[in-house]
Structures are given as C-alpha cells and as structure tokens.
C-alpha cells in the first residue's frame, strides 16, 4: 500500500520534497507504456463523446431507408445500419451514454461506499459488523440481478442501469476502503493524532482519506471499465438504455438480426466497447504500478 503524505503529516520544510515526488510520478507515468496507451484510448473515447455533443458526420438518429446496410465508404466511414443511420455517428453519440452511465454509477458507488468504508474503519465494533453484513447482502446481487429486479418492477430504462451499477459499486468501494482504512488506523501518525486529541471525523478526513485516495482512484478506474461493459450488456438485453438514445449495447443487439446479411455492422460497436474498456483497464493497472512500484515488480 502506498503512503502519500497527508497535509497535516508534512512538515513545513517538506514542500519541495513533494514537488519532486510529483514530478517523479509524472515522469514515471510518461515512461509507463501501457498507462500511456490506456490514456490515449480513454482520451479518444472522451473526445469523441464531447465532439458528438456539437458535431457528428451525420445525424445518429436520422433514418434513411435508401442508404440501409451500406458498406464503409467515403461518406459513411463505418457504413450504415438497417435503418440507414450512420454507424460512426451512432458510435460517437453512444460514447456519451457509456460515459454518463459510468460516471454517475461509479460516483454514486464511490461516494456512498467510501463513506461507509471509512465509517466502518473508524468505528469498528457493531457499526463495522452492520456495514459489512449489508455489503455481503449487496454482493449477493450481481449487477444484472439488480437490473432485472428494477426492470421487472418499474420497466426498462437507463436509470435502472445507473442504479444497478451504482448500488453494486457501493459494497465494492466499502470493502476496499474499510480494509485500507483499518490498516491506516494502526499507523503511528494516526495514533499521534489521536493522542493530540483529534476526533474520529477529523482523523478520517485529515489523515486516513488522503492516504488511501490512490486506492480509491485505481478502483474507480477499474469500476468505470466494468460499468461500460455492464451498461453495454444491459442495453444489449433491453433492460438498459432505450431508443432513440444511442447505445453501443443496443446497436449490437439490433445488428444481430442482420448478421447473415451484413456482419460488419456487428463489428464496430464491439470494437468501441473493447477499446474503451481496454483503455480504462490499462490506466487502472498503470496507476496501480505507479503508486505502488512493489506491485509492479511482482506482476
């Protein structure tokens, strides 16, 4: 586990040292090949989503039957689907859905999970027991089961996908943060802060949280990748994003009916998912190596 020095642990003369450390991190990051590839892939996904807000080669929802199932050409780089919609434009707009679902779901899971994990680590005893048993209960429901329950009760929709992923992520973050937090609470600088009369909340915010933030960032990156995969799966199954909202998973589900006629249309959305998930996974792995070089040596 990495120990980044928190503000309160740092003496006044250590500011320069931190500057050097940050520069070292940046330098190591630039030299970490797979981390940089991950950054490039994820950057491409984010940029295409942002660009699609103001511009796409064609309208991602416009139906042009005369143009249906066209192979890639100069006017339609990735070809067109069964309704004559431009696949490249749909993929660019679909990136928005993946990013929005991933961001909201992971933030929801991270905020609640990190708070619960920190609380469990600070209080221990029955508080920790209750939080961990709730987390056991949460883990009994993989994302798809939560989405199925929500859809059966309230009908399909993108909100269900976000909620299902968010709820599932609460226990993922809570468990990780609790474990790391407990280890922090046993460190000398926390004991010293305690002896100085600081309360649980102050110690958690000033000492525990800053020292485990790297673990949270790594987990958030990996959870984001998993969220993109899960959102695509839920949309593919018809319980996630609904038409006309473009989504990579639904594009794949629709393409399957034309698999004998135009198999190429099933290739593009899948590639978009793979490259995005690969990018985030490489960033996650890279960050883990960068914040804990011991792990990098072991892997």
């Amino acid at each position: 586990m990495t120990e980044t020095v928190s503000n309160s642990d740092r003496g006044s003369g250590q500011g320069t040292g931190r500057g050097t450390a940050s520069l070292g991190f940046l330098g190591r990051a630039l030299g970490h090949r797979s981390f940089m590839i991950g950054l490039l892939l994820t950057g491409a996904m984010i940029i295409s989503a942002l660009v699609s807000l103001v511009w796409t080669p064609h309208s991602p929802t416009e139906i042009v039957i005369a143009e249906r199932l066209k192979l890639p050409s100069a006017s339609h780089w990735f070809g067109t689907d069964q309704f004559g919609r431009d696949i490249l434009s749909m993929i660019m707009a679909g990136a928005q859905t993946s990013i929005v679902v991933g961001l909201i779901a992971v933030s929801l899971g991270a905020v609640l999970g990190v708070s619960l994990g920190l609380w469990a680590a600070a209080r221990r005893g029955w508080t920790e027991d209750v939080i961990m048993r709730l987390s056991d209960l949460n883990l009994a429901f993989p994302v798809i089961l939560i989405a199925i329950l929500l859809t059966a009760g309230w009908g399909p929709g993108i909100i269900n996908a976000i909620l299902a992923l968010g709820i599932y992520n609460i226990s993922v973050f809570a468990r990780q943060v609790r474990g790391a937090g407990i280890a922090m609470w046993e460190r000398e600088f926390v004991l010293a802060a305690r002896a100085a009369g600081k309360g649980n909340l102050a110690i958690t915010i000033e000492h525990v949280l800053p020292n485990i933030i790297s673990i949270i960032v790594v987990q958030a990156t990996i959870s984001f990748a998993i969220a993109i995969l899960a959102e695509a799966a839920l949309s593919y199954l018809g319980v996630g994003s609904q038409p006309p909202n473009p989504s990579w998973g639904r594009m794949l589900s629709e393409s399957q009916s034309y698999i004998f006629l135009a198999p190429i249309i099933a290739v593009w959305p899948g590639l978009a998912i793979v490259l995005s998930v690969l990018g985030l996974n490489l960033i996650g792995d890279g960050l883990r190596d960068l914040v804990d070089p011991r792990l990098a040596r072991r892997r």
């Binding site: 883990l139 059966a152 018809g238 899948g270 996974n281």
Partner: protein
C-alpha cells in the same frame, strides 16, 4: 474453527433472508399493486380482480411473503402466470441447458487458464508471458456477448460448421446438443479464462519465490520437479478461491449468453418473464441465483479458512 463456522453460518442465514426480503419488496411492494405491475395500469378492473384472486395478491404483503417462503421450504415456487405451470417445473426444464453451459464453460476456463497461467509464469518476462498477458488483458475488455456474435459470424455465417443459435433438446441426440452448446461455452469461458490466467500466473510466481521452493531446488530438485511437487500444489489455493468467486460471473454470464444464442435456459426464461411481466418467475429465479451466489461465497470462505488458519483468527 467451530466459532468461526457458527458465525459464518449465521451471516449466511441473515444474507439469504435479507436477499429474499429485498426481492419481495422490490417486486411486490415498492412498485405498487403487483396485479397492476403484471397487467399494466390500463387493464380492466375485472381482469385485475381476477389475477388478484388467482395469485392471492389480495392478501397483505407480509402474509404473501411468509406464504412464499413457507412454499419454498416445501419445494414449491408457485405457478407461472403466463405458462400456467409450476415455476419449479419451468426452472427444472431450463436448467438442462443452463447447467451444462455453466459447468462446461467453467471446465474449459479452468483447463485453459491453468495451462496458460503456468506457461506464462514459467516464461516470466519472456515473449510467451507477454503474449498470454496480452490475451488476458483483451479477454477482460471484450464483452462476452460481442465475442459470441463474432464466433457466430465466423463459425456459423462464414464456415457453416456450427449452428448460430437455438437448442434442439437432449432428446435429439447428445452430439446435436453438445454441438449447439459449443459456441456458447467458448463464449462464456473467455472472460473467466482471462481472470483465472492472471490469478494462476501471479500465484505461481508468488509461490516460486518462497523459501521452501528455494530449499527444494538447493536439495537438487529440477525446476520442473519443484514446480509440480511444490509450487503448483500451493499456488492452487488462490486459483480455487477465485474459481469460487467466479461462479457469480458464470451465472450472470449464462443470463446474457443464452440470449445471444437463443438458448432455452434459465436466462432466456427470466428475460421472457420480464417481457411478460410474470413476477412469480422473476421472483423465484432471482432468489435462486442470489442463493447460489451466497452459498458459493459461504463455501469459499469455509474452504479458505480451512486452508489458512489466520482467517479464522481474524474473523
């Protein structure tokens, strides 16, 4: 050990009971009147009244919950509203497809991952290792349903070797059944193989650095003999553990893959039930899946504690 076992068993009971309460609340209480959930808000009053009477939905929620759980203890899950047959019968029929799919992909993944993981570890930091790690990185990023579609394009559309989907039933002959499950099994095993390969590789590397392996080598044991006699036996513990954890992945994977290949399994059953608003089926299948996840987690914890005594003391 017995205190640990008792505590874990109590947690297991609380979790499974909590899961049943959550399922019941989310399906039959929070969305409002379950009769309206099933028939839609525009349904005529007479139809709503009839379904309430038929499924006993006119009783208070607490009574319905107790009746559901009491039924489960007697092996009854109620009647499917759409198919008009007992839900246990429906699940039993569908498991004939889902179980071979789940077990087959677990078996394929375990065999492939053990071979690849050991190969990568014994070729650490060489080209073979990079190749295997690259494959596993890709395996983690490829959505299994897309991999399934690609396999259909290759083996059904282009080569015409295997069917693109559907299941003829085991009565039509073992080979025809196996043939229609081949692509789904390979599809589902991809992400499992990727995860297990990584775990096997790092477990073998970790154990190979232990002192007892060095001692074995110092005593004159060859690299290969040390690997088979000492390293693998110890490296299998984390691999078994992750295998247990992956059961949840396999189960939810079958839900998706059965829809890719139009297989009449439990996964297809539950999504058809959602479309048909057959709450009885949804309720029981979700509980069955959640129960399997909880039982497997419980068994993994016990297994882990048997192997590593520190877990028993910490918990």
């Amino acid at each position: 050990m017995s205190v640990f076992l008792a505590r874990r068993f109590l947690t297991f009971l609380i979790t499974i009971s909590g899961a049943s309460v959550i399922i019941f609340l989310l399906l039959e209480v929070l969305p409002g009147d379950p009769a309206l959930t099933m028939l839609g808000v525009d349904a005529p009053d007479s139809a709503v009244a009839a379904i309430r009477l038929e499924l006993g939905l006119d009783r208070p929620a607490a009574v319905r919950y107790v009746a559901w759980i009491a039924g489960l203890f007697q092996g009854e899950m109620g009647l499917s509203y759409v198919y008009k047959v007992p839900v246990t019968e429906l699940i039993g029929q569908r498991l004939q497809v889902t179980l071979p799919l789940a077990i087959g992909s677990m078996a394929v993944a375990t065999l492939t991952a053990l071979s690849l993981g050991i190969f990568a570890a014994t070729n650490h930091n060489r080209i073979g290792d990079y190749g295997v790690m690259g494959f596993s990185q890709l395996g983690l990023a490829i959505p299994d349903f897309w991999f399934g579609i690609l396999l259909i394009i290759l083996f059904a559309v282009i080569l015409h070797w295997l069917p693109s989907g559907g299941f003829p039933g085991w009565d039509e002959g073992l080979w025809r059944g196996v043939k229609s499950l081949m692509l789904p099994v390979f599809t589902l095993s991809l992400s499992l193989t990727a995860v297990m390969t990584r775990v096997t590789r790092s477990a073998v590397l970790e154990v190979a650095r232990e002192d007892f392996v060095r001692t074995a080598r110092a005593k004159g044991l060859s690299r290969r003999a040390a690997l088979w006699r000492h390293v693998l036996r110890n490296a299998l513990v984390p691999v078994l553990t992750i295998g247990g954890v992956l059961v949840a992945t396999v189960l939810t994977g079958t839900l998706v893959i059965e829809n890719v290949f139009a297989l009449p399994g439990v996964g297809k059953l539950i999504f058809d039930a959602i479309s048909n608003r057959d709450l009885m089926v949804v309720k029981n299948v979700v509980l069955l899946f959640a129960a399997i996840v909880v039982v497997v987690n419980f068994m993994v914890d016990i297994l882990y504690a048997m192997v590593d005594p520190r877990i028993r003391i910490q918990t």
